[in-house]
Subunit: 406 residues, 2 copies
């Protein structure tokens, strides 16, 4: 029985993790939940999963949550009432909860950074769905991982694919701790990209792209922020940086190929030219389950992948004109230091402004480029946590200032 | 430095193995060659690779080989003149040659059985390209493998793909010795089939299929017999039986999917619904090299697989009406005992008669079915080597008798 904590329990990753816990009641028990502000769903989750501790972002909602729970759990044994905590300390309590074996980090954006670090310091294994943490704070996270012995299991479907292809190799043992030990026989990885909502749109057509267009992903059901990131291909760029830290790869060892059907989730190329790939339906439940069951595989009744039914898998090279965000991410990754944190914070802020319809879709890469350009001479090598938090808030402010010009 | 023996050095697998040995002069040295009757090529191979021992099928060719070598190696040091052997004993000498670490068995058909057994008894690791040995004599070969500790490395591209996908799992260690230990987490395998020369022909059009048509494979450059087997899909059926023995699988754990581009070489499906696949150009050199370098990977300058260049991979279910041989193989495999040996011998003889234009392409499955049907009540469970050799020659004779009716 593995005890699970979930950061972001009412989000896309969180709800899918809870579905898995329900499907495998003899394998997993949910001991800790941290949620944003969706009280209705949170109360339902508490009733169903009976966690020991629950955190809510906005501390002021605790009394309301308490009374809702009293109503819902009326007459039930006192042990079904969880400890309630809130605010930044609350989410850290959930992240480092003593009884937990694995922390699933489904908080979107850089907000996941501090609780992820709290989980690592407490020596927890992590199912990392919050890629922004590693992207912004790789230089801070990696040494903490080594110190505590925590293991970073990738829940992103692409990195899960790489991780699955590398199972059993001595290299993957090292890679999980991101020591970057080169493997004999390993050449590079190929991250597949669906191409997102606009894969069949021309650059000209993109000028008319709306928020509704950008938040309708053709294959994957995901949160709004990551769906926009898929449409700009920034998501793939961020995954390149994530792969750099997770697997200890140089940037020229990480390639991107457009694969609209999202069936091959990524590939490992070996030095003899052989390629190993992992395939599955585009459903986040499989990579999340693999983090939870690893190193085992659990038997699921899920629909089997039938390639004859899929019919065809297609591939093409990404169009760098159409997707400038991809190149911005490669550049920021290669620059290293605090630059990836700036890229990530600028992207988060710009996407949030786009979702509020304050800017146009094609403005997204332009503004991010401007902010990264401004940071160029300030880029700090070997940053500490304060450096990262500082540039993060600087970049967000800069985006807001920049947007006023638009 | 690994010392290599090659059975069938002038054939398709043999010549490709020698090419690899040339590409990696610091990794491999060729110590023993067994060839059929292509003296010209054999003399060239001896001059280039300087083996310690050479066998030629037809003993009476030894004097001629000797004089050709004397001419060619004139003035060279005596140690470059190999020991010359011939006939069935000769090939066994090569198969069990003391200085050899790995025996590549590229002899086509059941003729490879006795030398393969000789190599196993001598404790040699094998790169098995001769699938007929395992198909006809699985019940005899497997106990010998366990006894001697020889390891069977699959050189067939499909089985190599499965083997590569299973690397590092405890199961693959067992699977190599075919102990059939079930793996936690393993569900089944998917063998891909190009569909062969007639994949785009209708059953009606097949009535007009010539030998030339059947021996033109769209993707793979292989020997004539296996190319015809690809056109009938008997090759895939035989691979199903091979996989049953190699990986210890039940027949309902082995599926076939038509994949015309031959880029995905086969797949492993896990119980959680994840699929691992191995990809590469359709070129036998990669699976042969992997047998030779295993468990390492050697760096090659070979053309890298570029999926954007390939563009699309397509898949469909095999048409059992068009490919009755596939079902015949499943049935023979499930019947077990001496039945797979009968199927294999009948197929070898029928294909050889087809290549001589004595029968029509569509007669191939009909005659094989007739012979298997005749053997039904004689099928012997737990056969020994004599039983297998007996039914092998019986089936060949039956085919010749049957063909007279055509």
């Amino acid at each position: 029985m593995k005890a699970i904590s979930i950061l972001g329990s009412t989000g896309s990753i969180g709800t899918q993790t809870l579905e898995i816990a329900e499907e495998f009641p003899n394998q997993f028990n949910v001991v800790a939940l941290a949620a944003g502000s969706n009280l209705d769903l949170l109360v339902e989750q508490i009733d169903k999963h009976k966690p020991e501790v629950v955190s809510i972002s906005d501390e002021e909602l605790i009394p309301q949550l308490k009374s809702r729970l009293n109503q819902r759990l009326k007459g039930k044994p006192a042990k079904e009432f969880p400890k309630l905590v809130g605010g930044p300390d609350g989410v850290n309590t959930v992240a480092s909860w003593d009884h937990s074996d694995l922390v699933v980090t489904g908080i979107v954006g850089c907000a996941g950074l501090l609780p992820t670090l709290a989980a690592i310091k407490a020596g927890k294994d992590l199912a990392l769905a919050n890629k922004e943490t590693l992207i912004a704070a790789g230089p801070v996270v990696l040494p903490e991982l080594k110190k505590s012995g925590s293991r970073l299991l990738p829940a992103d479907s692409e990195h899960s694919a790489i991780f699955q292809c590398l199972q059993g190799t001595p290299w993957s043992e090292n890679a999980r701790l991101s020591t970057g030990v080169p493997t004999p026989g390993f050449r590079n990885i190929h991250l597949t990209a669906s191409g997102g909502a606009f894969r069949d749109w021309s650059v000209e057509e993109l000028k008319r792209a709306t928020v509704k267009d950008a938040t309708s992903h053709p294959n994957w059901s995901m949160g709004r922020k990551i769906t926009v990131d898929s449409a700009t291909l920034m998501n793939k760029g961020l995954e390149v940086i994530e792969a750099h830290y997770l697997f200890g790869l140089d940037y020229d060892q990480i390639e991107i190929v457009i694969h609209p059907q999202s069936i091959i989730h990524s590939m490992v190329e070996l030095e003899d030219s052989s390629i190993l790939a992992q395939l599955g339906w585009p459903d986040m439940k499989l990579p999340i389950l693999y983090c939870m069951s690893w190193p085992k595989r659990f038997k699921t009744p899920w629909k089997r992948l039938n390639l004859a039914e899929v019919g065809e898998l297609t591939f093409k090279s990404p169009d760098t004109n159409k997707y400038p965000c991809m190149e911005l991410a490669y550049s920021a990754g290669k620059a290293g230091g605090t630059m990836p944190a700036v890229l990530n914070a600028a992207n988060e802020e710009v996407v949030s402004q786009f979702l509020k319809e304050n800017i146009h879709f094609l403005d997204i890469p332009k503004i991010i480029e401007t902010i990264c350009e401004k940071h160029k001479n300030e880029n700090k090598k070997d940053p500490n946590l304060d450096d990262i938090l500082l540039v993060d808030s600087w970049a967000r402010k800069e985006v807001c200032a920049e947007i006023k010009k638009y």
